[in-house]
Amino acid sequence: MAKVQLKDVVLARSGDKGDTCDISVFAPNEAVYEHLKRVLTPDVVKAHFGAWVEGPVERFEVPNVLALKFLCHGALGGGASSSLRLDNLGKCFGSNLMRLEIDMPDQLLNQLRAGGEHR
């Protein structure tokens, strides 16, 4: 088992709808996707953002594109046009989530490195 930051493993894009921030995380292959499903729970994501996500975090699995989608409610200080935040559109939540450190089996990590998918 090794510790890796999500930035070395996944793609992520985020945006807004009202006061909800919507983050999609994309795995490079199925094995990593299955692993992410286990470790990247809504609770883990909520804890990562701390006070910036006031409401619950929902998760959707999207296996056809090896993605997990997170809806973070109450995450944008009232929503784009009512928010005092600099990132009032939630565009930086994706890169923010990439800071998260997760445990990764050595075998998966070695596969990524061999396949050039590890950045």
Binding site: N64, S82, L84, D87
Partner: protein, 456 residues
């Protein structure tokens, strides 16, 4: 087998026009489709309309018309845009004016109206429609006297109707992001209004294309540093087959990249439940979609599943929601962050001593954690070269918000040392709240009108 080629021209009000010109010039695109209306855009357009009743549409239709109408005439490319905003008739007047200036007689410019329900709220309530906010459950009365705009989202069908009447250009008000892209597919490929799987494919296409460069290498979280020539990024072009499957690509000789990764990032962007993407035209299930590389800068998309269109349309209303005052000041090493924190304290104490009425006090340290908040670790302060302090307050009226701005300049003489003034960053802004509700679609659709005018 019949095919239709649609391109993305603009992803928001203010987007550049050069990529659309590239598509018109360098590809055999048949339709250039625009999505000009973000949730907020109507609030901006409403303020324009209040100043001048002939406005209320996105003012860049003038640029669009000058750049693209010559191609409409010469190559038969059709334009579909929701740039009409709150005043499609006004947008058409401007387009016609430019067409005449360019000597482009004979062009047929259509508008579709009926999305604007601001003047119909009493009538809708009398018909038993509950206009409470879907998010909070609050009744409309809570904000009724502060409303700026109220519009229902129309789908592709009014645009299809305009195309059937021979329109070269179709201008709408509030439509879904996807409607402009789906309409030409329905019209050209003869899709039935209940052909849910094909319509769902069209929605996937529209969703992938409506943010212009975001699917061709812009805002890409992967190896973005390897995406070539973002300075002349190509906007997406789709080659759509009768069965709804399509190849997503871009104009030859443009920058950017189209790969499975750039496409899948946009695929789920701002879509909530991926099994249930609700639009007025169909409900799409995105979890059935296949995305495959089909060649360099070519990605094949197929397999969307659709369910019947919903009996209601979403309406979004915007209301005045107080004001924000905001200012900035910069601090240099050493102890830049400590200086910025001290300055924030000074401002807060002064605000309170002055009795400024604020409902929220918000502090950002730009260069440290303004974008990532609590998740960003604070670096060793000796390694921080500079920090920019931004302080913002939320108030009921603009006067209170403006009182914050006056507290920044004196900090240069009275605060911590090593300061850069940033007077250009001081501003007040009206905050707009958004209210979302559902309306039985027939009550909206009975008022939808399509009209075509020929440029004389």
């Amino acid at each position: 087998m019949k095919q239709v080629k649609v391109g993305a021209a603009q992803g928001f009000y203010g987007d550049i026009i050069e990529p659309a010109v590239d598509l018109a010039e360098k590809s055999d695109v048949q339709y250039l489709c625009f999505d000009c209306l973000a949730e907020l855009t109507l609030a901006i357009l409403q303020k324009d309309r209040q100043r001048d009743p002939s406005l209320g549409y996105t003012k860049d239709v003038t640029t669009t018309a000058r750049a693209l109408l010559p191609y409409v005439k010469r190559k038969g490319i059709k334009l579909i845009t929701n740039a009409g905003g709150l005043n499609p008739e006004g947008a058409r007047r401007e387009m016609v004016r430019i067409a005449q200036e360019l000597g482009l007689q004979g062009l047929r410019i259509a508008i579709a109206t009926g999305d604007d329900i601001l003047g119909r709220l009493d009538e809708l309530q009398a018909a038993g429609v509950d206009l409470s906010d879907r998010e909070t459950g609050q009744p409309l009365d809570a904000i009724r006297d502060r409303l700026l705009f109220a519009n229902a989202y129309l789908g592709a069908q009014p645009i299809v109707q305009a195309l059937r009447q021979g329109a070269d250009v179709v201008i709408t008000g509030r439509t879904t992001d996807t409607a402009q892209f789906l309409a030409p597919l329905i019209y050209e490929l003869g899709w039935a209004a209940d052909d849910w799987d094909r319509l769902a494919q069209g929605l996937v296409l529209g969703h992938l294309m409506e943010c212009s460069g975001q699917v061709t290498g812009g805002n890409f979280s992967g190896d973005w540093w390897n995406v070539p020539d973002l300075d002349r990024i190509g906007y997406p072009l789709a080659e759509v087959s009768e069965d709804g499957s399509f190849i997503l690509t871009k104009a030859p000789g443009t920058g950017g990249t189209v790969s499975v990764d750039t496409v899948r990032e946009q695929f789920l962007y701002e879509i909530h439940d991926p099994t249930t993407y609700v639009t007025p035209d169909a409900v799409a299930d995105l979890t059935a979609v296949r995305i495959e590389q089909a060649g360099p800068d070519r990605v094949r998309v197929s397999g969307a599943k659709g369910r019947p269109a919903p009996p209601t349309l979403k309406a979004v209303m915007g209301y005045r929601n107080g004001f924000m005052g905001s200012g900035m000041i910069g601090f240099a090493w050493p102890k830049a962050l400590t200086k910025a924190r001290r300055a924030a304290e000074i401002i807060r104490k002064q605000l309170d001593r002055l009795g400024v009425q604020y409902e929220e006090f918000w502090v950002d340290y730009l260069g440290v954690n303004a974008l990532h908040g609590p998740a960003a670790p604070i670096p060793d302060e000796d390694k921080i070269n500079e920090v920019f302090l931004r302080v913002s307050i939320r108030t009921k009226d603009r006067e209170q918000a403006a009182r914050l701005l006056r507290l920044f300049p004196p900090l240069v003489l009275n605060g911590p040392p090593g300061v850069a003034m940033m007077p250009f960053a001081a501003h007040t802004r009206e905050l707009i709240g958004l209210w979302t509700t559902l309306i039985p679609r027939e009550l909206v659709e009975e008022k939808v009108r399509v009209s075509v005018e020929e440029v004389g």
